[in-house]
Subunit: 364 residues, 2 copies
């Protein structure tokens, strides 16, 4: 494997292990496993999930749904408030797969109905505390209006309630994640109890990577939809969702300059490779990733992340504040590894993966 | 023009005007105009520059140089510390164009020499205050060592000194930009005076968008390399490099949800469309762009950027804190405009432009 420019390396073994862990957790807890494919966006990695019996998936756009539908995935949830301007894509998908859409307003259903030519399943999006989108779980009035809209149309089938505890990404301890998990679960349980008599098949769907990775109690939950766990990343290891050893992707970056007076190393690898997401330490320091040594079979554990900091990223440059010891042993022309802060955004920019066996894996 | 998903609109008129303004400034000041093409990365937009007599360009990677060399550009500066792991690309380019490389260490020249098969021009990269890369302008010892390395090889030709005052992007007033400009200029003038007797054809090359947009005194400067000015963006308008009316790109985003209790609007448009760069106001507020109304022929002036804030971006969602008035008149299904914070990163993610005449313009 000869690397000459920024390259996103994928350790397939770690990735398969991550998929297996989550898949077994679902089996143990009798959960439907509907992984979010927005992180990898790769038909080939989708195949690895099929190997664990996965046949239902989540995506974050209709374009992504079309990409995976082409590959035979026929039960797809688009976990984004339905954008009815894309009605042609919705009809295209609904004509050939089980398409599950998220709705949080009666008006959207009303508009959707006007253009629909095929049946779709509707999840009602509930705000379980993240406060990005969704209906307040106590807002019976809106929920009931949506259910009425669903019932008067032959094109809609009510599938259940769906929530996303995205605020777990801001947690910094297992306790915090536990609190968020039980809080979400309680709200969803209450809804389930309220509506299960009328809709005995309704599904409760939740699932962010931190809670799905760390929690074991999923009573009243029917389905989980984590995505990031397939690779994990530096952010998830800092939250505590994974160990740094479980992170399955690393950016390999050539070293192009060194500045002894500042103990700074310049790598070929910037905002167009990593994205600009960063980790904020409690003391206000920010870092755009975590340095690791690369070797033939993969990479080692990260350097101390308070001593070696990816200090800034411009379009193509990354600046590493290395400290004396690391500075002295890394040379221009070396290729070093950086665990990305946010693997979803990094892989979205890199557009392909290189496995440790030198296989190129493509993606959307 | 029917927009159904996040789309990067380009106002060709404004873009041509931006190119013309900079091109005329170069003519007035007798400067070589070597625009940085990393912002647009489009052969078609490159043609527009040719219309103004431009025949020398700057890029930020060898891959970008290869893309433009294919289109007949034959004098290209790669404004990035040379990465000699990419020696095959360097030889490929050097065999057919005038290739200008940046060097800041004798070691790199030494390694480069071992693999070179064709002549290249060498700029010595000077740190004029940004402290990202480059040699301290007072470091005669390193500069002279590099010049020695250049002289003993037939493959190298010394082209001049190159600097990038990237710290001007952190400026928030014309005064600050002026200070940075004169400071850079003074350092470069001194170098020119020191070396011009021995190298009468040496070139002084500088050029970030803020100083090139606002300054008029370029004495002792021979060449400028601004890039962002082709589109400008919200950040540049806040720095003062341009008026908001000069910004030539806007993201068109469908509105997919509204939350009256928080006066928040959810758009289809997130980190995978805009990038995660943000503007930090003095009071600590951050915003990921500035809202504008779209109409048939373009877009209006931005809403008050302290009252209407793009509060957060996740992968596909954008959250707008709209305030009462704006909230009440924007509806689900509308398509609204957002001036991007950083047009280089946004266009890198969007991968194409749609002009107001409905022409699709591709890019690398």
């Amino acid at each position: 494997m000869k690397i000459i420019e920024p390259t996103l390396l994928l350790d397939k073994k770690k990735c398969l292990q991550n998929i297996m862990n989550m898949s077994e957790k679902c089996r143990r807890n009798n959960l439907i496993f509907r992984p979010h494919f927005k992180t990898h966006q790769s038909k080939e990695i989708g195949e690895w999930f099929r190997g664990f019996g996965v046949d239902k998936i989540t995506v974050s756009s209709l374009n992504m749904a079309l990409y995976f539908a082409e590959d035979g995935w026929d039960d797809i949830t688009v976990a984004f408030p339905v954008n009815y301007l894309e009605i042609d894509k919705i009809n295209d998908l609904a004509s050939r797969i089980n398409l599950n859409l998220l709705v949080e307003s009666p008006l959207v259903l009303y508009n959707l109905k006007k253009g629909l030519k095929f049946k779709v399943n509707i999840f009602i999006k509930i705000d379980i505390g993240y406060h990005r989108t969704g209906i307040n779980p106590g807002d019976d009035k809106t929920i009931n209006k949506i259910l009425e809209e669903i019932e008067i149309s032959d094109f809609f089938r009510f599938k259940g309630f769906l929530g996303h505890a995205g605020h777990s990404y801001k947690a910094r301890s297992k306790n915090e994640i536990e609190r968020i998990h039980f809080d979400s679960k309680d709200q969803m349980s209450e809804l389930k109890n309220l509506y299960k008599q009328k809709y005995p098949n309704l599904i409760i769907s939740v699932g962010d990577t931190p809670t799905c990775s760390l929690m074991e109690d999923f009573r009243d939950i029917d389905e989980i939809r984590p995505g990031n766990f397939v690779f994990y990343d530096y952010m998830q290891s800092m939250i505590g969702s994974c160990t740094s050893d479980q992170i399955a992707v690393v950016m390999a970056c050539p070293v192009v300059a060194k500045h002894p007076e500042r103990e700074e190393i310049i790598i070929y690898g910037g905002g167009v490779h990593f994205s600009k997401d960063f980790f904020l330490f409690e003391d206000g320091t920010i870092s755009y990733g975590s340095l690791v040594d690369l070797h033939e079979d993969g990479w080692d554990i990260p350097f101390n992340s308070k001593q070696v900091i990816i200090k800034s990223l411009s379009q193509e440059h990354g600046v590493i504040q290395a400290g004396k010891e690391v500075f002295s042993r890394i040379n221009i022309g070396d290729v070093i590894g950086v665990l990305p802060i946010h693997s979803c955004l990094t892989s979205n920019l890199m557009k392909s993966y290189l496995t440790l066996n030198n296989e190129r894996i493509s993606r959307l």
